[in-house]
Symmetry: C2
Subunit: 536 residues, 2 copies
Amino acid sequence: MTARARSYWGWGWADRFPDAAALRALAERVRPFFANAALEPRAAPPGDEVRLPAPRIEVPAALAAFCTSDRDARLAHTYGKSYRDQVRGLRGDFAAAPDLVALPGNEDQIAAVLEWCGARKVAAIPFGGGTSVVGGVEAAVGARYAGALSLDLRGLDRVLEVDPVSRAARIQAGAAGPVLEAQLAAHGFTLRHFPQSFEFSTLGGWIATRAGGHYATLYTHIDDLVESTRMLTPRGVLETRRLPASGAGPNPDRLVLGSEGALGVITEAWMRVTPRPRFRAGASVTFADFAAAVAAAREVAQSGLHPSNCRLLDATEALINGVSADGSAILLLAFESADHALDAWMARALGIARAHGGDCPRGPVVEEESAAAPAEGLSGGWRQAFLEAPYLQSAMISLGMLVDTFETACTWQRFDELHAAILEAVTAALRNACGGGIVSTRFTHVYPDGPAPYYTFLAAARPGAELEQWAQVKKAAADAILAHGGTITHHHGVGRVHRPWYDRERPDAFAAALRAAKSALDPDGILNPGVLVDLR
Amino acid sequence: MTARARSYWGWGWADRFPDAAALRALAERVRPFFANAALEPRAAPPGDEVRLPAPRIEVPAALAAFCTSDRDARLAHTYGKSYRDQVRGLRGDFAAAPDLVALPGNEDQIAAVLEWCGARKVAAIPFGGGTSVVGGVEAAVGARYAGALSLDLRGLDRVLEVDPVSRAARIQAGAAGPVLEAQLAAHGFTLRHFPQSFEFSTLGGWIATRAGGHYATLYTHIDDLVESTRMLTPRGVLETRRLPASGAGPNPDRLVLGSEGALGVITEAWMRVTPRPRFRAGASVTFADFAAAVAAAREVAQSGLHPSNCRLLDATEALINGVSADGSAILLLAFESADHALDAWMARALGIARAHGGDCPRGPVVEEESAAAPAEGLSGGWRQAFLEAPYLQSAMISLGMLVDTFETACTWQRFDELHAAILEAVTAALRNACGGGIVSTRFTHVYPDGPAPYYTFLAAARPGAELEQWAQVKKAAADAILAHGGTITHHHGVGRVHRPWYDRERPDAFAAALRAAKSALDPDGILNPGVLVDLR
């Protein structure tokens, strides 16, 4: 069997990258907004022409059964999928390639990797789907290490056990979204965690980065779906007890969640699963005024209705997504349940939206699944576009566009100020760096005490200057977020890109505690160095 | 103003302890169930006749403004309110009294206490409402310390700030339940965290012990209501950013939650608050069969309806609580909202209960608050009895009864086995230790993946042997919990009583990380020694 190939520089399956005609069509769609853009397709050099530094270390005999210094493997494990990563990939710059790639098939092999890396002072970088947009899997570990090994968990991709009574499943950390969903579906369950990277990202990556998922309220992060975890550290296994809840000291799972490969290698977890929803209700509400739409989203978030979707698109976002072109903001509301019809829930949420001036002339769409009519239509289109977006980003990058996203969260009280500051800072930075650009906003998740705003920026990049232009805009955005009460990341993670701002956001006393915890679990500091915290 | 006096040995206000006639009446109610019980009221020695060891240290000049070695203060800070504590108090055994009691009025004074304790190797034991039932505030710190200081936070009891837009309030840690609720009510808000200790326990104590509260589903623990925390450690302040959510590394608040005074002194927190509920719906459903009631509770917990109450009482519990005397189990269901009427929610929950054989002949009670009729009637009676229970326990103890509770949580799949094992172990231990006794069960909280069962046991104690009898039953219960997949505590905390089982439940690698974190924040090990983890 020949495995379907993933692009070594851009998003997703290589065979899904648009051909020349499709790229030209995309360029014509984009051109009206960016008069100064060349929009000339650039191709990445063929993978076998990319220059790779020679590995600094040889494959050790002890790991030879599942470890390689093969150039394709090293190429595929050099970067995640951030804008920076893709630009460097397009340029054929793979100077940061790991020396070795390990593909263990079981925990003993992972333990052997950690032991060998510890003894040889080789950095071990856990690698799930390789979809990090924050430099979380990058092998640039510096001269303190004898080399870097990318530890790819894809060999651990099974649903090992399902407990239908408690509605939980024991899943290996290397299972990607569709892989674990297919196995759960055979038992009548679904995890319902659909980050934008769903097609490739893995359970272990979600847990390590506290990924944000499908639900716009309530169970927004993977954190909320974790029942217990199992993590291999250089100092032994950290496995927590399967419990629906406990009050026994600080929650151990919460140290694993967000550990970003710096404390251990997550190998499996018991996850809370649900039956597939049978009932769905959805509505798209139009607001002439963004502030009114924000107020509606806030009231819904504070209502206790817990919609599965409560995504707010500003006018630019609505335009880009082809949802509305008249300057309206759009609030997407949806409920889903495996248990009960949702008429009362939807009616009240729409009532709130309308009281804030929202318009939903056709009313909500309500569906009940039957054997004859699986209820996928309602959310299917939105979800498909959502999962396609990263492919579109890669295509835009290949056309020379600067295109990236960032996200945060803040209290409702802070939002107006934070939002204005971000728009001002990013607009100014785009003007300075690129001669202008576009910024759009949506809420991906909302909470009783605040929203998680998500920003997309677009501009024409200058060939050869992309990384400096990007860095200028990124710094403006991140500085504004930190200065106005936001968090440097709601669900993208910290990695190497967000580290300077994370260090400012994180309380110093917590940094001291985290550093001490890392010393205890990873005394040689081999695990994903540069991420989260440094040993002294 | 003379402060209303709290009992120095038993629960609550001294003036609320039943008089001789009321105790006789209680004895007559209890006697039919315990043929071998003497039920002779015992009185605690007058407080001023209790013998206290001389303080090992003098009040230092630096802390003299808010620190005392006064005997009444030392008496009041010797114990929490566990069965063991109350028996020792009744006996006049206060050998473990702290040497000093500090009542700081601000953070500078707390920092001064920590500095002085560190320099003099004096243990500092944070003290909120003094309601621990697990030895969490006990000053038996051993000879490694020059003495022990009880650090009472009651001087920090204000709501400092309210953010009505984000629905959050900044509250000082020493505020007890009624104190903070009264201040929030002035702003139209409520925290809605009502543990059984509500009348005396404090926000800081709730956070330090991950207290369980009012909501039977969803927001079950104080953890879920915390927006940010502020904790003074010997190595500086740990203050987290106000955020509705974040994905930036392991969540710092989750290290503070459950820290039980061993990592720092919590001084304030931003808490998520809500308007007072306007709509309520409640129902009491009778089941002839406990297993059917469990199945109904499980289906409701997995339905996504999120009732505020979903408490299941077994037949014995229903009998003791005077809810039912015919051997039925009772499922109490309730919903509440400040936003919407709850008919659809309640109808579906009742539908589930009835499908499992539940009987609710009169149907649900639905209320909407108006100015003329505040909606308190429905839950008021249940809540009052709930908050009275600790007074009843003290009265029973004074009659020579062995009476205590313990709780756990487990997956639904494990429940039958765990429950049977607990009943068997506790029944056998009560027989061996006391010649027999009663065990009752309720679910205090339920989750999609499992319940939190709560057990009460009652027996006639042998005067002078109470602590040994209790220890025998407690060990049987805790061993059964650990052996059958439960947690040693769902919401009572770890303290000194649960420590041996906590050490078995907690992953060793997490213990190493926690010990390292404590070393970083409390290098001299002065904070609540014996609790959670020991420095090497």
